[in-house]
Symmetry: D2
Subunit: 406 residues, 4 copies
């Protein structure tokens, strides 16, 4: 009665923290001939997409679309507002904050990282302290990763704004919502965010390849004050194009735009509040299961973030005693066609510890039977591999999905 | 904390007993221009499909492809072997046996139904008795539904052959494997089946629209003895075409053939034995959960077939106290995008009892996370609707998927 | 400077008389998961399709949908109205009339064929004569192929009705519009047609696999007078289903219905009159080119039908001195990816003459640049193979497309 | 007999100079779920794509893949080799040379443009002169657009290398092959090109969204000598990644990679020499038609480039007396679904002259019937709009396709 009886069949499920599972409607919309890129259908569609993107970001301000991944959007945000030698403050609760800081260094900026480790959100007191100490306002921007995909910590971006305001510091507030947008509540204008970067392959449910930078008037003014911005990254013509190709700094990402239109239809058809509520419910179902599994003597399954209020609704970082994480991932992929996310940054990738960590993506096009299938698969894997775990996990998760708990 | 928080999002899951979930590779292969229907690529592909279909049916004999659904294949099988006034014996353990018998009546045949109710397989003693009583061999064929999709009973087709042989009755043995092929083990030649009918939208994982009749030399001889067979149903030119269009009695089902090729590649890539093993394992996981749910005082969830040895691995018929079945189906569809099968024939469709019955399809492109998601959804639904049910169902199912039980 | 420089690249063009080129929207609509077959989306869609099909057929009466090809629709039409021993009159102007007559024979009907050869339409005087001679009304139906795909002759179906009326003969008038529907004008009710059969893979622009029988009250009465109709072919429950599956006599052709909905949207978006006008214009462009090519001394390219008023707007049968037809087809397929239709029935397929004949399909999803590309390819082929042909063909065709001639 | 009889139906044909028509196999390959981005199938596929890209570029050296359009690739090439204040020499024979020069200015480089107008290729004598005058080697790179899409002039990149060599100038030679790669012969290594930029939506037949920079060791050395390269543009980790995501500087363009694999299979299945030969033949067919159309008294249709040896095989720039160009484009789009390219840079877009210019794209997935359909459409449009034109154009083009001329 070997567990390999089930290998190599059935629908695959990619439960990594991006790219996420895509709706059929998105892929359907992309499977079509290229349109004219100088007008007509594509132009009308693009103009319809802009306000619908802004509705997802909860902003009345501007958006620039980039053919690029999230790393490109990071670079774009910095390139439009800062100049070599400028300083940025980067509170960090995971690998992606460090990544953005490195991207800044690559542009000749001076990045000051406030590292809060891999299990804690930004310590606002320390951020405020750093800002207060910067009396000559050499810090030009604070870069805050909303949800760090590596740790699944969700930071309080509104509180970051409050820090700046309390200290009276004029730095721009930039938020990275690559992992969180369309999953965790985010309110660009209400929270006082000046620049927000995101990408299309997570909560926006489109194949990787397009990213976005939203920016308000203050950020636009910073752009105008720069002596020069690289033509490709310059957000000004992208946000206010005189001719159509300027939306994209050249040839449009034609197929992606059709996919994006379909995805935005789904998102706004469901409604932003409902989208957030759904993600919250499904995240709580995952946590409920994880907490039961972790209820064993000795070292067992651990959620990376202890306080539920600090956990993302889009991604969950977990660990098992090494090398059980890697073994579990392998078993699930080979036996059930279920792919979990590897760890990023929780341990050196060549260390034994790395093989304990893994992540679950639960962003975008997900629902109750998918999440219960994901958790059911993990339960089966824990059993198959004889990894110690507590009982009642699936029932607890189902209770949350049922609306009877959590 | 309403359960409607989760409505209208995520990947839909159609868990009805056909059409089944289709592999992406099948839909991909069908999304292409129509080919020439007089030769070339389509002709080569069709010729490659024929032996691979026979490998699924476990036969060295003939197959005729029909553009038709399963009802068409029923009619084709009868039209090629019987003539108005001929008698057929139809042991019945569900609605589809009755359906086939009615199809026979529609062709002017005299159908004698041996009804074994909705919870039991064929009673071979009674079949043998009926055959023995037919001393003048007026019965020309015995029509046996392998798995009756309405009740999920799996009949022993080899035992039906033994009945005929014991009595020395020359009637043709016909099997309906529409629900079972590619899910439950079936051995056409070894079990002595003369004619087998099936369709493409279940274990063969292709969109509905094509069906198949397999037949051996004895059945071919019966065909030749008939004065006339309708041109559309005539299997002779389809099985041994002189020109290509005769495979299909006219224009080929072009897109379906590309889909079928992709599906057969998946099936034989996995291997017939492995395909059956997988379905068996997943069915046992479902039963394990159902048995736990049913473990309540009073009336609870019931598997329609008590003896596991008599249950299909492709479909499971269930009931709850009415109207809980219908309520559960509705809740799952609206809240999780998960569609269960309605009952067919377990109760009049306008009766209150009907709303207790429902069915699960688990045929074809299924695996452990899908089935655990299906079961997880049901668990959530039972909780949400406060339908009494026993505990431990999901853990029990996961244990079977893990290979630790069942 | 060999002509094989161009082989094996670019978009293929299947210019055979069915299956026709399909719109992207049709294939897109079919690339989706199977729906529930007991209600919901598919039921609504099917109910919306019925009246839109009737609008294409120009009838207020009934339609039955069959999972079958055109041959199946032929058999269905006969099976619902006639009984073995009944007589049918089949005026013939091509192979498909003979095919329908054979289909009738296969059902035990007595088919009287009036053969008008391969270049002429029905001779109404001879049809009237045959009907008048049938004083005891043993002829129960007249089977008229509107456009015979083999010869591209278009018959006058309204005149066939006039024949019946003049003689006062009560036989049913059945029309085969498989090649013509959605291409050549057809008015079922105005022309007094009792039964019309068609299929989906030509003017309806959907992959082969679904066909249709339209019938009026007189035909419905004939059905009711029959002692028995096979369950699969019985149109009564298909046209007036009590439960949804009866529309399809079993499982629905799920993917095809989505494709059909998309195709009907395109057709009615364009408008029936416009659809016919477009096909007429494009057919005239083809004829204009063919007439120029044929303007050579000795034997050259010939249109099968001399009188333009008798030519179909959906298909054109042609010939060249043998074996130039086959050589031209091969060159076009290998060099340009352009596939012309082989001849059916114009000569024995094992005769040298057969290699002179070929056909062009110009049905459904076609427009001016496609037809001019088809003709341009033929011109290139005639030149490459040094087949004698007159000049000015492409310019003449372009003139028609331009609206400046023809 | 209005020409609008044909509106709004049939297969659209986008005959603009990019994006080009895409093969079905490419779109099919992209219509699939997202893969894991950390290994497995996508990793293997990416590693297989790298050498096949190099085979298209005819280089043994390096390639960096960018999620970006061609403008991004321009910026990437410059960012890896030059630093603000560096000088580039840009011989120009069309708008894209000026565009690249502007991109350079945007990065703080000093661009010296040698403008050779809109009808002539680079004047190598003047290029050599400029290089010779640069005795202190302040020019760090020569940016040569191989085929300028705006004018359809094809420049001699090997001759540009000879200029550099003759003068003994050490500047890098960069070529823009965005329009030409996979259409016009290009030999990176044999022609001594140090850096080549291209994009995927033209000869590579993939939806817009990915671009490429190829570079040799000399260019790699220039990169290493720079103090800093932006992380997104840095080609070093992309060309020699230590971990998989570095190929893409972050998340992979998942769907594009599957499409690219399919496109490269088609290209190398046909063979580079054959691909070039096919494009050459089809281009000559277009020119033959254009020359006939232009054979009128007074001002008529004009090919932008007089000397056939200087014309691209991928794109053709044309003009008619204004406003006939725009009128022709409109008529073709509305009546035939055929879209020609607008002019870029041949006249101010708000000038009356602009409406005379237009362009034809004939790159990538094209063949004889497509091109003859394109030309046939234009012929029809010229007639419909009574635009003066010479006769015999289509026959002349067909003769070239036939291999009998040109």
């Amino acid at each position: 009665m070997g567990s390999t009886d089930l290998r190599a069949a059935g629908r695959a499920y990619l439960a990594i923290p991006g790219p996420s599972v895509m709706p059929d409607a998105v892929l359907q919309a992309m499977h079509r001939p290229s349109p004219n890129i100088y007008g007509g259908e594509l132009k009308d569609l693009t103009e319809s997409v802009i306000p619908d993107l802004a509705r997802v970001a909860r902003t009345r301000h501007n958006v620039a679309i980039y053919i690029a991944n999230g790393h490109g959007a990071w670079e774009a945000a910095l390139s439009n507002t800062l100049t070599p030698g400028d300083r940025v403050l980067v509170p960090a609760s995971g690998a992606f904050a460090h990544g953005w800081a490195e991207m800044a260094s690559g542009l000749g900026l001076e990045a000051t990282v406030l590292d809060f480790g891999l299990h804690a959100p930004f310590d606002m007191a320390r951020v405020a302290e750093a800002l207060a100490a910067d009396t000559d306002h050499s810090i030009k921007a604070v870069l805050g990763v909303h949800v760090d995909t590596s740790t699944s910590i969700r930071n309080d971006i509104a509180a970051l704004r409050a820090c700046l305001d309390e200290v009276g510091h004029p730095a721009l507030l930039m938020a990275d919502c690559i992992a969180s947008l369309g999953c965790d509540r985010f309110e660009m204008d209400d929270w006082g965010v000046d620049v927000m970067v995101t990408a299309c392959q997570k909560g926006l449910m489109v194949p990787a390849g397009v990213s976005f930078v939203f920016f308000n008037d203050k950020a636009a003014a910073a752009r105008k004050a720069l002596p020069r911005v690289s033509r490709y990254w310059d957000w000004a013509p992208r946000a206010e194009p005189e001719v159509f190709y300027q939306y994209f700094g050249g040839t449009a990402p034609t197929q992606h735009m059709f996919g994006l239109r379909a995805a935005l239809d789904l998102i706004h058809g469901e409604g932003m509040e409902q989208v957030w509520t759904r993600h919250a419910r499904l995240a709580r179902a995952i946590w409920a299961a994880c907490e039961r599994w972790g209820d064993v003597e000795g070292e067992g399954l651990r959620l990376n973030v202890l306080d539920p209020n600090l956990r993302s609704h889009a991604v969950t970082a977990l660990s098992l005693p090494s090398p059980n994480g890697t073994e579990l991932r392998s078993w699930l992929e080979e036996t059930l066609g279920l792919t979990l996310g590897i760890s990023l940054g929780m341990a050196p990738s060549d260390s034994p510890e790395w093989h304990g960590h893994f992540r679950l993506g639960h962003m975008g096009h997900v629902n109750g039977h998918m999440i219960l299938g994901l958790l059911g698969g993990i339960e089966a894997g824990l059993q198959a591999l004889s990894i110690p775990h507590g009982g009642g996990a699936l029932a607890a998760a189902a209770e949350v999905v049922a609306g009877k708990a959590g």
